[in-house]
């Protein structure tokens, strides 16, 4: 997976649990874990926006390209 989802790192920095994030972002826990574990194929801009807002960060903090 050359695109890595660093959702757990940001969550740890902001001290937010998966349940809290799920509520704030309005995603089900199962969808959030699909995203966290890198099983997702695509990400909606609306989801990205909600996560950035909830975690007060930039898309670059969550998504990383690894060569």
């Amino acid at each position: 997976m050359p695109i890595q989802v660093n959702l757990d790192v940001m969550m740890a920095k902001r001290k937010i649990s998966l349940n809290e994030l799920s509520e704030k972002v309005e995603l089900t826990l199962s969808n959030l874990s699909i995203l966290k574990t890198g099983k997702a194929k695509a990400i909606r801009f609306s989801t990205l926006e909600a996560i950035c807002k909830a975690l007060d960060c930039q898309p670059g903090d969550i998504l990383e390209y690894i060569e």
Binding site: I34, K41, A42, R44
Partner: protein
């Protein structure tokens, strides 16, 4: 919209039960006609009278009655497939592989019903040409062309549906 689907689901059950009863009744009267009382062949189901065929040749009698029973049984099976699809179908999330398989299966059964109906119809006509009397026979095996057409429709539907399954799988992994 969901009410309409529920109404159709109930209708499918009614048609299915009706067809099962029909199939069961003709099967029983057929067995009676060959085992217990040959008179039964004069009214196999709602006036269907094949006694003239039975008197002439039991092979033809068994064959043509067997065809009618098979067609009705296959129609019941087709309807049961439709019922199963209704049970699995969720309107918000309709495209699943198991349903796509069921649709393909129904298309094959419809094809078989169509072919058997047309064959039986021709067979009955041939028996009439041989001077036999078949009362209320053509009603029993009518609709062959319609079932062939339905088979085609279901096939196209299955192809479209399979593409839907692919798209929905991607959709589900878009978070």
């Amino acid at each position: 919209m969901n009410k309409m689907l529920k109404a159709l689901y109930v209708l499918a059950w009614i048609l299915f039960i009706g067809l099962c009863i029909r199939t069961g009744v003709i099967l029983v009267t057929f067995l009676i006609s060959i085992g217990i009382n040959p008179e039964a062949s004069s009214n196999l189901y709602e006036g269907l009278d094949l006694s003239s065929v039975m008197d002439a040749n039991w092979v033809h009698y068994t064959l043509i009655t067997g065809l009618i029973i098979s067609i009705w049984a296959l129609k019941s099976w087709m309807l049961f497939g439709v019922i199963q699809i209704f049970q699995k179908l969720k309107i918000q999330d309709p495209f699943h592989f198991s349903i796509s398989k069921k649709i393909t299966q129904i298309s094959h059964v419809a094809l078989l019903v169509g072919v058997l109906s047309i064959l039986s119809f021709a067979y009955g006509r041939w028996l009439v040409d041989q001077g036999l009397m078949l009362n209320h026979f053509s009603e029993s095996v009518r609709g062959g062309m319609e079932f062939l057409f339905m088979a085609g429709i279901f096939y196209v539907f299955a192809v479209i549906f399979r593409r839907g399954v692919e798209i929905q799988q991607e959709h589900e992994l878009t978070i």
